[in-house]
């Protein structure tokens, strides 16, 4: 997965762009981003703040790092109406999230999931959850443990019982 959308994100100086209002978002680690209101309101959470007139000063985005927030803003930019000319191009761009075979990709997806959850961005949440589901598909129990770095917390007897009950889980 490619990352970092700093070009659109980190602007300095101007706070108005035509008649479009800019919102200031601050990540957990202190990075500040100025984002067009029309784009940022893809987040249901931010939209709620704008509607309630609470978005006048800097909006803290807790638990989301600057690195992740930049990815989220890239997502918003791509999903702004009219940003991408056709559905196919958008799907192609989204397909970078499909494979999470590398650990760093997985970490990105988890970060994005947390951000999508906090900011309430349904499209991003769907995309990332389905990517994780795709990775689970077709794996045996042992393969899942290995892939997702999960240690079994069953004791030996339980593990034995599981293997008998769910014989389908361990075959491949």
């Amino acid at each position: 997965m490619s990352t970092a959308a700093t070009a659109d994100a980190s602007s300095s100086g101007d706070t108005t762009e035509g008649s479009v209002r800019l919102l200031t978002l601050q990540s957990e680690d202190g990075e500040v981003f100025e984002v067009k209101e029309t784009i940022a309101t893809q987040s249901v959470t931010i939209k709620g703040m704008v509607d309630d007139d609470c978005a006048t000063s800097t909006i803290p985005v807790c638990n989301v790092t600057g690195r992740t927030l930049a990815m989220v803003i890239e997502w918003w930019n791509k999903h702004e109406i009219g940003a991408v000319s056709n559905e196919k191009e958008l799907k192609e761009w989204e397909s970078q999230f499909d494979t999470i075979d590398d650990k760093s990709d997985r970490d990105d997806v988890y970060d994005l999931l947390m951000a999508a959850n906090y900011l309430n961005i349904p499209t991003l949440l769907d995309c990332c959850t389905s990517a994780v589901a795709e990775a689970i598909k077709g794996k045996s129990t042992d393969e899942m443990r290995e892939f997702f770095d999960i240690k079994s917390d069953f004791d030996e007897k339980e593990e034995d019982a599981l293997r008998k009950e769910n014989q389908w889980a361990f075959e491949n």
Binding site: M114, T141, I150, F154, N166, W168
Partner: protein
């Protein structure tokens, strides 16, 4: 808003290895609803596999409200692929039984989807349905290979949680419909490759579903039907597709649609009659006739069109096949017919290349307020010879020429067409092969479309759309 744990962020490592092990399992520390969301995408076989991963995953797995049990996935994933159908079936049954047993029964099943090979007197599916009804199933999708008729069991008919029912057969099979009313909350009913044997029973069944809103009969056969009577008080969307069932389509059947709430109607097939008594709110209609007027006598054609025109004259969105357009033009060509579609805003035509220009423009004369026109060019070679559905375009091609009394098909009319002068803003031509007729049509539309804002032309073999703008 879910509160997220602060410790979720871990530092990036360049090589991905050598992490602290506690940091490893970030997936399980995601909020519960996200993990559920992830699990909802999975086939149940994968959920069962996930249930043995850890205690936490087990907890999520047994309470997943979506079950998706597919014998084919099961066979692909697990079994020795040399297993016979019977052996596979036995193992799959065992698996489904275990899933239903081991799940947390306090969780209602939102969605149960099953693909199963039901062979002869195998009754296990009725036992499963019994469990589903008791677990308040809301959506039930059955895809079955079945060599014996399927009966809708009483527990499902009387199931008060069931909102959405979908039954698809792999090969035409009889579905025994209930004689007593039920389905008190059923809103969506989708039936595919079902053989209907009794027109009374089907009519009664549909009208006995009190809140049914969407009914689709896809690729169904209507055995010896003289009348297909669909009368449902709340029905909003109705789709009847009998195209591929060549021998038992609706050719000798009168279709009566009496649904006061109906908004959208789609029919694929050529019935002997089609009427809409009491169906006044219709807005969106797609009629795909596969037989043109040459298959009917003139009287039959008029009988058919009289009742259809009464039913669809007020609609806003219309999509038609060439064969239907053939009937329509015959009907509106009658001097006593003053039919006009005053409310029609959007028109889509599926036409074959050669007759497109004349018939299209003729029809524009009868739609004074049309704003958007889409023409999809079908090509004879696109359809296999055995494709009964669309080989019909071949016939219409001739017929439309006749009905228009025009010999030179490239000649365009000169008189003003009201919708083109005042309303037609958007034209879309799809699968254009750039032959002479099509180009003439484009020229005509550009010349006469006084308020045209956007015309898009998509070639059959081109990947990029060509956009032309005027004014």
């Amino acid at each position: 808003m879910a509160v997220t744990p602060r410790s979720c962020k871990i530092p990036r490592t360049s090589n991905g290895g050598g992490d602290d092990e506690d940091d490893g399992d970030r997936l399980s520390s995601l909020p519960e609803h996200i993990i559920r969301h992830i699990f909802s995408f999975l086939d149940t076989i994968n959920v069962v596999r996930a249930s043995s991963v850890s205690r936490k995953w087990r907890y999520f797995s047994v309470s997943v409200p979506h079950l998706n049990l597919n014998i084919f996935t099961f066979w692909l994933l697990l079994l020795n692929k040399k297993d016979s159908m019977q052996v596979t079936n036995e193992k799959f049954k065992d698996f489904v039984n275990w899933v239903l047993m081991s799940q947390d029964w306090s969780v209602d099943i939102q969605n149960f989807s099953l693909y199963y090979w039901k062979i002869r007197d195998d009754n296990i599916i009725y036992r499963w349905m019994n469990v589903l009804a008791r677990r308040n199933v809301q959506q039930l999708y059955l895809r079955l290979f079945s060599d014996t008729p399927l009966e809708l069991p009483l527990c499902i008919i009387n199931c008060e949680s069931l909102v959405d029912l979908k039954i698809c057969f792999d090969q035409y099979s009889v579905l025994k419909l209930p004689e007593s009313p039920g389905f008190t909350r059923l809103k969506f009913l989708y039936l595919s490759m079902v053989e209907f044997m009794d027109s009374m029973l089907l009519g009664n069944f549909v009208s006995s579903c009190p809140v049914l809103e969407n009914l689709t009969m896809d690729d169904c056969t209507f055995h010896d039907f003289k009348i297909l009577d669909i009368a449902a008080p709340r029905l909003k969307n109705l789709i009847i597709d009998s195209l591929t069932s060549a021998d038992e389509d609706l050719f000798n059947c009168e279709v009566i649609v009496a649904c006061p709430s109906l908004v959208s109607f789609k029919l694929l097939g050529t019935p002997s009659g089609l009427s809409f008594p009491g169906t006044n709110g219709l807005q969106n209609v797609f009629i795909f006739f596969n037989h043109g007027p040459e298959h009917r006598t003139v009287e039959e054609g008029h009988h058919l069109m009289d009742s259809i025109l009464r039913g669809i004259c007020n609609i806003k969105v219309l999509k038609l096949s060439a064969a239907f357009l053939g009937f329509l033009l015959l009907a509106v060509a009658k001097p006593e017919c003053s039919a006009a579609f005053y409310n029609l805003k959007s028109l889509t035509l599926l036409v074959s290349v050669d007759e497109s220009d004349q018939s299209t423009i003729q029809f524009l004369n009868h739609s004074p307020n049309l704003e958007a026109l889409s023409i999809i060019f079908t090509r004879l070679e696109d359809w296999g010879d055995n494709d009964v559905a669309l080989s019909a375009t071949r016939h219409t091609l001739v017929i439309c020429g006749k009905s228009n009394h025009v010999t030179d098909s490239c000649k365009m009319p000169n008189d003003d067409i009201s919708c083109m002068t005042y309303h037609l803003k958007k034209v879309e031509l799809i699968d254009v092969a750039c032959n002479k007729n099509e180009l003439e049509l484009v020229k005509f539309l550009l010349k006469n479309g006084h308020v045209l804002q956007k015309m898009s032309i998509r070639g059959k073999y081109l990947n990029y759309p060509t956009r032309l703008s005027q004014k």
